[in-house]
């Protein structure tokens, strides 16, 4: 009984050490830090949108329509006289919402398919991977586009459509990791101890897949943002008057020659945010990818 309290602080300090060394190695990569700062800024924008915005993002003001950037309208005003800066700030919430919706659905679906296929093998594996390959072989944007066209436009439908195309890489990844682990000694030991296959998969295999999945997720977020913006631009994503960045570019398109700032600012926001996710993804891959770590 006396051993337990002694072990716990040890474990905790070991974890803390692990985290510290992780943070130290991460801080040595300036591009990764920039990426992290961009993402943190995005989160802060979404969280404190009402305080950061100078105007109500839905408040129209026809006398000010299409006005150029000024002290009152930092990034100008759109075709209904709404403040573009405030709309971009509020738009960060929609971007995060779509990304979150896609990630929390596609990663678990892929994980389940991949881990089950890899762990059981045989015909389950063949069928699951066949389906995965079919999805991988079909152009993603078009599939998402057709799917939203059938479902009807909207943020949730757009997220569903992106999920439909985003899960297969996770399945591939999880299956590859599972194949490596499923006959490892420690897994066989648990199996001999009488653990059910589900217990093994959930408690012992899935955690081992997590680091690859997280790296992949960070990379995917940039792609998800771009696809969502593309759907919004086509008119299949968030519907007016929601300040979605892709849809804002689509409105600005009509005025691109004379009031270029309307389309430019939201596009820049998309660019910066997906750049942030890509930079962070690069850095995390270098740190977390077990295969890269072994090679060094």
């Amino acid at each position: 009984m006396t051993a337990t309290p002694a072990v716990a602080p040890d474990l905790r300090s070991a974890r803390l050490r692990e985290w510290r060394s992780f943070a130290r190695r991460f801080l040595r990569n300036p591009l990764g830090v920039i990426g992290l700062l961009i993402i943190v800024a995005l989160l802060l924008c979404a969280l404190f949108a009402p305080w950061l915005a100078t105007h109500n993002p839905y408040q129209t003001s026809l006398p000010d329509r299409l006005s150029a950037p000024s002290a009152a309208y930092w990034l100008g005003a759109d075709e209904l006289g709404r403040d573009i800066y405030s709309r971009i700030i509020y738009g960060s919430r929609l971007t995060l919402l779509i990304v979150a919706l896609v990630v929390v659905t596609s990663a678990p679906i892929g994980l389940i398919v991949g881990v089950v296929a890899g762990n059981y093998g045989g015909w389950i594996d063949r069928i699951f991977m066949r389906v995965t390959d079919v999805f991988l072989a079909i152009p993603k944007l078009l599939l998402a586009l057709a799917f939203v066209a059938a479902l009807g436009p909207g943020i949730v439908n757009a997220a569903l459509a992106i999920t439909l195309t985003a899960w297969p890489p996770y399945a591939r990844l999880a299956r590859a990791e599972t194949l490596l682990i499923r006959n490892a000694d420690y897994v066989n030991a648990v199996r001999l101890a009488g653990a059910s296959e589900w217990r093994i998969m959930v408690l012992h295999i899935v955690p081992m897949c997590m680091s690859s999945v997280i790296v992949r997720m960070t990379f995917d977020m940039a792609g998800i943002i771009l696809t969502a913006a593309g759907l919004g631009f086509i008119g299949l994503g968030a519907q007016p008057p929601l300040p979605e960045w892709g849809a804002m570019i689509s409105t600005g398109r009509k005025f691109i020659f004379d009031q270029w700032w309307i389309a430019t600012a939201p596009g820049f926001a998309i660019f910066i945010v997906s750049l942030g996710f890509n930079l962070l993804g690069d850095a995390l891959r270098d740190l977390l990818d077990p295969h890269l770590r072994q090679r060094r």
Binding site: R130, V131, D133, V134, F135, A137, I138, P139, K140, L141, L142, L143, L145, A146, F147, A149, A150, L151, A222, G223, L226, A229, G230, F233, I234, G235, L236, G246, I249, G252, R253, I256, F257, W260, A263, T264, G267, I270, F271, S274, L275, N278, L279
Partner: protein
């Protein structure tokens, strides 16, 4: 003659796996067109159609039959080239697709050529001078390419290079003045105008194509150069490179004749993938540049709620995409002796 049998077996595997993938594609479009909408008839005819039209379409779609039978009929009609009627152009979707596809193919081909011509040397340079400035340049080019929304870049490019600087022509394929001047032979305006010997049209077409082709080219360059870099790094680390150097081969010969030749085989797959990606990526670019291709067709059909046309375009591009993948796999097998398997 085991090798012949093996090869035939290999072909059979390719054919069957491609067929399964295409069947999967048909299943998905069937699912999207018939199962996802609550009322597929309403989705096609719109809510203002008379009961008579509604009933006719209902029977034409065979919605009174079980789903399996419906799917069978769907696949057989696709195989016959029957993609249904487009309700916005009132023509068979297949005829429309054939009209619009050459423009997309032309743009994507030029885009991927730009990607190869610039991307492969960049990737080779970045791999050779690893962690030096060519590698850093490549990293920036790649990061921007992966992060920028391509439709936005298209708008900005139009504003700067067409409106402000007036270096290139704006949206469209040729000026209105030149439309229909050269006879339509191949569907590719650059080739058609050359065939007709009309340099004015040719120059005009080049000027119109520059921006969209460069944008697509940049998109594929980002991917091709990154993959070239990693494939080349892998090759340059191999022992045969060391052998070649020890035997006194020049650095140029080591990189070009030894490493790149072996990397080239792997690059075929990369290039095929990026070509397929451009066919798809052109949806957004064509919309921006009013390019009369499949992407624009899908986009305008989408606005008109014309699902037959949208799904037809999806099937066509998807099929080309899948076939490109298979083709690159086959080519890889043919060119790489290792993948043919040893002995037995």
């Amino acid at each position: 003659m085991t090798s012949l049998r093996q090869r035939l077996g290999g072909v059979a595997t390719f054919v069957s796996s491609t067929a399964v993938t295409l069947l999967g594609l048909a299943m998905l479009t069937f699912f999207i067109g018939r199962v996802v909408p609550i009322d597929p008839v309403l989705k096609i005819v719109g809510d203002k159609a008379s009961q008579e039209v509604y009933d006719r379409v209902f029977l034409e779609l065979g919605l009174d039959k079980p789903l399996v039978v419906q799917f069978w009929n769907y696949v057989t009609s696709l195989l016959r080239g029957d993609f249904g009627i487009s309700f916005s152009t009132a023509r068979p979707v297949w005829t429309d697709l054939l009209d619009f596809f050459p423009a997309t193919l032309e743009l994507a081909t030029i885009g991927v050529l730009i990607g190869i011509v610039l991307g492969v040397p960049m990737g080779v340079a970045a791999a050779y001078w690893r962690e030096k400035w060519p590698d850093h340049v490549l990293r920036v080019v790649g990061l921007v390419g992966y992060s920028v929304p391509i439709f936005w870049l298209g708008l900005v490019a139009l504003f700067v290079f067409y409106y402000k600087l007036n270096w290139v022509s704006g949206p469209g394929r040729v000026d209105v003045f030149f439309q229909g001047v050269v006879p339509n032979v191949t569907g590719a305006i650059l080739i058609d105008s050359l065939l007709a010997g009309d340099m004015q049209v040719f120059r005009n077409a080049v000027s119109h194509m520059t921006l969209p082709a460069l944008l697509l080219g940049y998109y594929s360059l980002a991917y091709i150069s990154r993959m070239t870099r990693s494939v080349m790094l892998e090759q340059l680390g191999q022992e045969y490179i060391l052998t070649a150097r020890l035997k006194g081969a020049s650095e140029f010969s080591v990189v070009m004749n030894h490493a790149l030749r072996n990397a080239g085989i792997q690059l075929i797959t990369v290039i095929a993938l990026s070509y397929g990606g451009l066919l798809e990526g052109s949806v957004l670019i064509e919309t921006i540049f009013s390019w009369p291709g499949i992407g624009n067709y899908i986009f305008s059909s989408l606005l008109a709620g014309d699902m037959n046309a949208v799904l037809g375009g999806t099937i066509l591009v998807g099929t080309v995409f899948v076939l490109l993948n298979t083709f690159s796999d086959v080519l890889y097998r043919v060119l790489d002796p290792r993948s043919r398997g040893f002995g037995a």
